[in-house]
């Protein structure tokens, strides 16, 4: 579908619902396409969504639904063709590389599926990495609180290769939290972990929202991981197709199964 075609109006039921709290991240009318002409793939079609501060939101959808692209655009890692992204009151779309880098450093925390830690640094140095990059001093009381919460006291001097996958991901969580960012983006944080380690990481994410008021946006395709969230936003073919509050794993699975049967979605939307 060529971009020049005016966007179809988004049906109201998928628009961001009324929020009790101020939004930490807001996307308005996001469009993102890759390639051109016949080969053009539209990853995001007019996506508008807000993520409330102090809440844990999961983004779900089948492969190719655009969930990763959405996260990358929200985090200032990818550019958008149209629309705006607002993080903590700052419009980040259109910012230059320097400003975006600084924004990611100061306002955003990241947890990736893998390659999260620098192998040359110890666990503690990895946790302090964003502060070090900024040339700033991290708040020691805050850091020790995170370390205690994540039960990493005994592992601080270890190099990543000396840690288990779960421990590594807990270090990554600590690092994401260390600068008290406006929002943490977690991209399939449990994708490489066993069930037990996944549980630990997810419980910590939940706890950091509940206890510290942290805002977290997590991309996942695992319904049981999504069940830890306050809200699940479902994407399919670059559009938000369902918005679920207080999800259970079963509800998520049902929803997923629901739009597996509802092919083709794009035609329906047009």
């Amino acid at each position: 579908m060529p971009l020049s075609t005016p966007p179809a109006p988004q049906s109201l039921q998928h628009a961001p619902g009324p929020q009790h709290r101020r939004p930490a991240v807001t996307a308005t009318g996001l469009w993102r396409a890759y390639g051109s002409g016949e080969a053009q793939v539209v990853a995001l079609r007019d996506v508008s969504v807000a993520f409330a501060a102090g809440r844990f939101t999961a983004i779900m959808g089948p492969s190719g639904s655009g969930k990763s692209t959405l996260m990358h655009c929200l985090a200032g890692l990818d550019t958008t063709d149209r629309g705006t992204v607002d993080i903590g009151g700052t419009i980040i779309t259109g910012m230059g590389d320097k400003a975006l880098t600084k924004l990611r450093r100061d306002k955003i925390g990241f947890i990736f599926q893998q390659f999260n830690l620098l192998p040359t640094l110890t666990a503690e140095e990895n946790i302090l990495l964003p502060a070090s990059i900024a040339g700033a001093k991290a708040d020691p009381a805050w850091i020790s609180q995170i370390i205690r919460t994540l039960d990493l006291q005994e592992r601080l001097t270890h190099k990543p290769t000396e840690l288990s996958g779960g421990q590594q991901q807990r270090v990554a969580c600590a690092r994401a939290l260390a600068t008290r960012p406006e929002v943490i983006f977690a991209d399939e944080p449990t994708g490489n972990l066993d069930t037990r380690s996944s549980g630990e990481v997810l419980r910590f994410l939940r706890k950091s929202v509940d206890d510290f008021g942290q805002t977290i946006v997590m991309v996942t395709h695992d319904p049981s991981a999504a069940a830890y969230a306050d809200r699940v936003v479902f994407l399919a073919d670059g559009q938000i197709v369902r918005d679920l509050d207080r999800p259970t794993a079963d509800a998520v699975i049902d929803t997923m199964r629901g739009f597996e049967n509802r092919v083709p979605l794009a035609g329906e939307a047009a």
Binding site: T101, K102, T120, I133
Partner: protein, 848 residues
């Protein structure tokens, strides 16, 4: 996947291209060395063939170079000329008088510098001369000069030129003609020439004797060259020899070969260093390329490819790379060698035409070395790759570094063995000086190899320590950690630089120590404050009129002034360095010598003094009799050994009474020592001495520092030459560091993406790579400096008995090497840092 594969291939192409530069350099130097040698030989042979062109036989003094350094000039007596002219089968004879003299230009300086002016007799037929202006010299006060001489001296037709030889005083001549040579050339081989009348040339060259340097004999019709030579042999007398023109040329060609071989060997040395350093680089590149293809190799192994096939496929790649690079190198080398020949021929030989010779060996050697080195260097990584079990390589798990224990242990053993050999050699426990020196040298070599093997182990602590320089900066800290991440790779990369820096540091340390030892000696033992002497690097030794000595002695504050004459004499059948002076005691005193036996009384005409080791060499002692013949002497004299000096480089040699000066090759003093009164203004005395020397263009008054500088000027040349070697090693090192860094950046793409995602700026990324690069380069340089200093120290100790008793560190040079290493690091970081800064965050963190 396809894009990734293409990207990987492109990256590899760049890396292979970089590696091939090292091979190209090595091959090119080897080809250039051989082409240059052959081409200069051909060019000079052509030049030589012009000499005496048309003559059939040449009569030369017998035994023309009986003693070292070419000092001896004997002539063919006039009787021999008469005999030759009256021999049957001789059409005519052209007699040449030719030897180096000194001539003063209009700036008051000696014309020619390093290359002396040649005196010839106008009318000889050694060269085809073409008068350009004026006429031929007709009286003894007239000369014609070569166009090159006119240009160099600034003197022309109608002006006068002052010239003198080793045996004559300064004389003024009127320039009545200016000439060039066949082909419109201004000079032959760049030399300057003055043509005198035959009688005047003989006065300059043979001290007035009616003698000739060469007789060019032209055969009458019907007489062959061989017959002519056979006919001449019985008539020329014992002091002369006859050769055919062909043999003469062959001899000249052989002489040239010596020179060209030296130049060629120098270039070959460069080539070999480049090749040696390249081995590390090529091995590293192949390890890297193979590491990136482990999965591919494992897949091949899994579907049934044998180990041999894996090795062969990698070697085939090496062979292809080696062949292409060596071929390019050979072509570059041939072109470079030809260009260099033209440059050298035009600037030094003024050749009418440049002959470029490309011997097949040049191309074959360049190809063989380039291909051989590449394949050999790829062999180790290839065999290693073939040993990887398919399953292991298929796992995505991070590649763990192979342990470096074996390498470290064997490196330590070799280094220790070398150290042991050095210690034994230095303490003289190997029995015999030669064995001790050899032991020390072999030990030094072993230490070098051992430390090269230890670099991987050393890299951990050293890279960490070096990196502390940057730890104020976070990006710097990361860079430092990265540099220490893969010890083996860091070590191989740094080795290229280490080898070069070790070589230059060791050489510079030794030479600086020698210099310092000489300076030290002068400061302590030499009593004379000033030396009257000329440049050490001139073909005709600088000399001056002894009459100026009285003027110097008359200067206020000059306590004593003694002049010294030198000659190479035949003493008991060996070439020996002989001095004479009007004040034997004075020279020993002023030069800081001491007597072992006898006293420093003036030597009688039948007495001789000598230093201990020279006496031992001839097996003579006090009271023994030796026989000496001086350069121009016609008869042997007997001397009784009257004094023996303690060995000391400044006073070593034989001493005779001044009565024999007329038989010396140079009948004028070559040096004088001036003792300045204590507390006098040395600068004022220096100026006064220089005033006294105003008419002596070849010499000047020099203080200790200047004199030592003159004496040690060859060391400076040696250091410069060895520095060029370092430059070459540095080029290869830059390539090696670029190679390693690009690989590291590629390997760490995801890591870089993560760092950029969590807020690392492009500037920080660039700084991180630069620090890694500079740290690796500095690591190599620091190791090289350390090993070089150690080897230099060992060599100095080994030579301590020969007078090198001061250990001096060439601090400025070492600082320069370290600065150069930083530069290498910075240069090498440019491309990898740019690549790292451009890392696409999304591409880096996205999963397949």
């Amino acid at each position: 996947m396809l894009r990734a594969a293409l990207k990987g291939m492109a990256a590899r192409k760049a890396r292979l291209a970089l590696t091939s530069i090292a091979i190209i350099l090595g091959s090119a130097f080897i080809a250039a060395a051989l082409v240059l040698t052959a081409s200069i030989q051909a060019t000079v042979d052509d030049l030589n063939a012009e000499a005496y062109a048309g003559a059939d036989a040449l009569v030369q003094p017998a035994d023309a170079e009986s003693r070292s350094e070419d000092l001896v000039q004997q002539g063919i007596p006039a009787e021999a000329l008469a005999a030759v002219e009256s021999t049957a089968g001789v059409d005519h004879v052209a007699a040449t008088v030719s030897w180096a003299i000194s001539a003063i230009g209009d700036n008051g300086k000696v014309v020619g510098g390093l290359a002396p002016t040649t005196a010839v007799n106008w009318g000889d037929e050694a060269r085809e001369r073409e008068l350009r202006e004026g006429r031929a010299p007709e009286t003894d006060g007239e000369v014609a000069v070569s166009a090159k001489f006119a240009a160099d001296s600034g003197l022309g037709l109608g002006e006068t030129v002052t010239a003198y030889s080793q045996t004559t005083d300064q004389t003024e001549y009127a320039i009545v003609g200016v000439y060039g040579y066949a082909g419109g050339r201004d000079s032959i081989s760049g030399g300057t020439e003055i043509a005198f009348t035959t009688a005047e040339a003989q006065r300059l060259v043979f001290d007035g004797e009616d003698a000739y340097s060469v007789l060019a004999v032209y055969a009458a019709d019907g007489t062959g060259a061989d017959d002519l030579v056979a006919a001449l042999e019985p008539v020329i007398g014992a002091e002369s020899q006859v050769t055919s023109w062909e043999d003469y040329n062959a001899e000249a060609s052989a002489q040239t070969a010596k020179l060209t071989k030296t130049i060629g060997n120098f270039l070959l040395g460069f080539g070999l260093v480049a090749v040696f350093v390249s081995v590390f680089l090529i091995a590293n590149t192949f390890s890297i390329v193979i590491a990136g293809r482990l999965k591919e190799i494992a897949m091949m192994r899994a579907i049934g490819a044998g180990r041999g096939q894996v090795v062969r496929s990698i070697l085939a790649e090496a062979l292809l790379l080696g062949t292409i690079a060596a071929a390019v190198g050979a072509a570059v080398g041939v072109a470079g060698g030809a260009g260099l020949t033209a440059a050298i021929a035009n600037s030094f030989f003024d050749a009418a035409q440049v002959s470029v010779a490309v011997p097949p060996t040049a191309i074959l050697a360049a190809l063989a070395v380039g291909i051989g080195v590449t394949v050999l260097a790829a062999l180790v990584p290839a065999v290693r790759a073939s040993r990887v079990p398919p399953v292991e390589a298929m796992r995505a798990a991070a590649k763990t570094d192979r342990p470096i224990t074996l390498l470290t242990v064997s490196g330590a053993i070799i280094a220790l063995a070398g150290g042991g050999a050095m210690a034994l050699g230095l303490t003289g426990n190997l029995g015999g000086d030669t064995a001790d020196l050899t032991g020390t040298a072999v030990g030094a070599g072993l230490v070098f190899v051992g430390v090269t093997m230890l670099t991987a182990w050393l890299s951990k602590p050293l890279v960490g320590a070096l990196g502390l320089i940057w730890s104020w900066n976070f990006a710097g800290k990361l860079g430092r950690r990265n540099a220490g991440r893969n010890p083996r790779r860091t070590a191989v990369t740094a080795s290229a630089l280490m080898i070069g820096v070790t070589l230059v540091t060791a050489t510079a340390t030794l030479l600086t120590s020698v210099k310092a030892s000489i300076e030290d000696y002068f400061g302590e033992a030499v009593k004379a404050e000033l030396f009257v002497t000329g440049p050490a690097v001139s073909e005709v030794p600088a000399s001056f009129d002894p009459a100026v000595m009285d003027d110097i002695r008359a200067i206020d504050d000059v306590d004593a002034a003694v002049e010294v004459y030198y000659d190479i004499a035949d003493i008991d059948g060996t070439d020996q360095y002989v001095n004479t002076t009007t004040d034997f005691g004075g020279i020993v005193d002023l030069f800081g010598g001491t007597l072992a036996e006898g006293d420093s009384d003036e030597l009688a005409d039948d007495e001789i003094a000598v230093n201990q080791s020279a006496a031992d060499e001839l097996g003579v002692g006090m009271g023994d009799i030796v026989t000496a013949t001086f350069s121009r002497g016609t008869e042997a004299h007997e001397f009784t050994v009257a004094a023996i000096l303690v060995d000391n480089e400044n006073t070593d040699g034989w001493y005779v009474a001044p009565a024999y000066v007329e038989e010396f090759y140079t009948t004028k003093p070559m040096m004088a020592l001036v003792d300045v009164a204590d507390g006098a203004d040395i600068d004022a005395v220096t100026a006064a001495v220089d005033d006294a020397l105003a008419d002596e263009p070849e010499v000047s008054a020099q203080n200790h520092e200047e004199f030592v500088g003159e004496v040690t000027v060859f060391f400076d040349f040696a250091i410069i030459a060895i520095q060029l070697l370092l430059g070459l090693a540095m080029i290869v090192a830059v390539i090696g560091v670029i190679n390693t860094l690009i690989l590291s950046v590629l390997e760490r793409t995801r890591e870089l993406g993560m760092l950029r995602a969590i807020g690392m700026t492009r500037g920080q990324t660039v700084r991180m790579v630069i620090v890694e690069s500079v740290t690796i380069a500095l690591f190599g340089a620091v190791l090289g400096v350390a090993v070089g200093l150690g080897l230099g120290w060992a060599l100095q100790n080994a030579l301590a008995d020969s007078g090198v008793d001061v250990f001096a560190v060439p601090t400025t040079l070492i600082a320069g090497y370290l600065a150069a290493a930083v530069l290498v690091g910075l240069l090498a970081a440019i491309a990898p840092a740019a690549r790292a800064a451009k890392t696409n965050i999304l591409g880096a963190i996205a999963y397949e």
